[in-house]
Symmetry: C2
Subunit: 326 residues, 2 copies
Amino acid sequence: MTHEIAVVPGDGIGREVTPAAVDVLSALEIDFEFVEADAGDAVAEETGEALPQETYDLAASADATLFGAAGETAADVILPLREAVDSFVNVRPAKAYPGIDAVRPETDLVFLRENTEGVYAGHEDRLTEDVATLTRVVTQSASRQLAEFACEYVSEGDHDGFTIAHKANVMRETDGVFRDTVAAVADENGVETDEVLMDAFATRICLDPTQFDVVVCPNLAGDVLSDLAAGLVGGLGLLPSANVGPERGLFEPVHGTAPDIAGEGVANPAATIVSAAMLLEYLGYDEESDAVHEAVESTLENGPRTPDLGGDASTEDVTNAIIDRL
Amino acid sequence: MTHEIAVVPGDGIGREVTPAAVDVLSALEIDFEFVEADAGDAVAEETGEALPQETYDLAASADATLFGAAGETAADVILPLREAVDSFVNVRPAKAYPGIDAVRPETDLVFLRENTEGVYAGHEDRLTEDVATLTRVVTQSASRQLAEFACEYVSEGDHDGFTIAHKANVMRETDGVFRDTVAAVADENGVETDEVLMDAFATRICLDPTQFDVVVCPNLAGDVLSDLAAGLVGGLGLLPSANVGPERGLFEPVHGTAPDIAGEGVANPAATIVSAAMLLEYLGYDEESDAVHEAVESTLENGPRTPDLGGDASTEDVTNAIIDRL
Ligand SMILES: CC(C)[C@H](C(=O)O)[C@@H](O)C(=O)O
Ligand SMILES: CC(C)[C@H](C(=O)O)[C@@H](O)C(=O)O
């Protein structure tokens, strides 16, 4: 069976790290068909559209999409792409790697971020010159779908349960629905949960990240808290993510376009290659996924390393070292 | 001139640290009249109301209010109290103290948090069994008032300008109004600003907190990002805050009721005493405010210390040591 993979490098270092991940996937004995498509600042400049319809359509029909990064137009690209693959959860592991500088090297958790609603539902109005409003939407159905995924996730992995992070003491009705629905689904499935206010979470993860393992949260909370965890493990440079839908997925590094080093061929491909490992797992290639994870970890630990990690290797050197270790 | 100070200890260690701060204020040669009032879980248990009308009215008429902490009912107490004093900005310094364990000891910044709107405006609806909504409100007028305060704040202090933290790439209209209004007011006042997305802020402050000095943000962003900074300086235990209105203010430690140690007389009073120092500054007693700040810093550095900081002193010991150093 051939898997069609949409490849959307985007802008900046997206154009360097995405081909690197494709090289790694190509080194495996799996029948992939890669189809490349445009998105981001450069194509917006040319055509006026950051996300051309054909890129959207490709992501909506391919088995999986590998995305690099986009610049100023990031929101115009990534939010519709998440919708194109019908992804209801954004899986964001945040783990420090051995040998890599981190504020909190003991950090090892995963965020399961609601990926369709909250403030991202995006109903905004300018009521008067003075007053703007945004309608935040939270539904039982989206919360339930996320919670079912979370229950499966903790049962399949080596996890005791999960933490629900929210702000239901202020957003009583909306985050109340989120918290109550997620907790009820967990209960039905015999999965243990605890809960924490998102502000308290921000304090507590700095003081002791080992308190948390799997964290389930609304969309914006997941955005901010996972970026916080990224800071604790040493930056966005190593973090992958998976936007998971029922039939397809979108896989992307958490980092951006890194304009300061774009074009120099020294971008760290690790986050994108680990995102490709998440893609493999999504498609059912667990063994190959593990192999890629291990090859990346071993390369991070033993080198070669790109300049962001204190080395002087190129993107290509690192990619080849990872392929050699497969 | 007598200043009427409403004293609202609340629950848990609020009942220990608030009297400690009153002792410090009483040791100064200023004519204060302290009037105590109830709020929190205990009074809610008795009367059904977490914030009795007379406490609200007292805060709304006193020159300043000193608040301790509230338990489960925190939101029912603190949000109306902020409104009672008509406070439009919550000033939250986050600074590591010499000799105190911190993940990022070089942290030294202050958040100016919008204190009236955003998701805290709190218009929620349960549209159907499935769907809940919350209307987030952002106005030019509140943004302008906050920005004018921020401009004065940086001009009076030793600050080069301020950073605007927001999420206008997703909340384009609402955070767009916030960002554009705040930036325009700064521009009119010749104050320099830069801006950062709130998620990027969360990563960047972990990697290097010295990048930031004064940070102006919407209500929920300020809640979460200041608690994050609290984690970097070693917890909420040392952080004060000031809810500033045009004619009165509400001063409170950022910490909660600490039920695990409440009643033992060993709560650290530092955050509440520094909040009292902010109260002094608000009322124009700059010299006395500085003296309290210095006495607290010296006591944190040289002891005695409460158990949370590795010492074995009581709340009273620490309070007396601070008073002795005035
Ligand atoms: C680019 C932006 C819209 C996006 C988000 O807020 O989800 C990004 O921050 C992320 O987390 O992938
Ligand atoms: C108790 C809660 C309503 C409050 C807030 O969210 O503002 C608290 O977290 C704070 O920051 O003072």
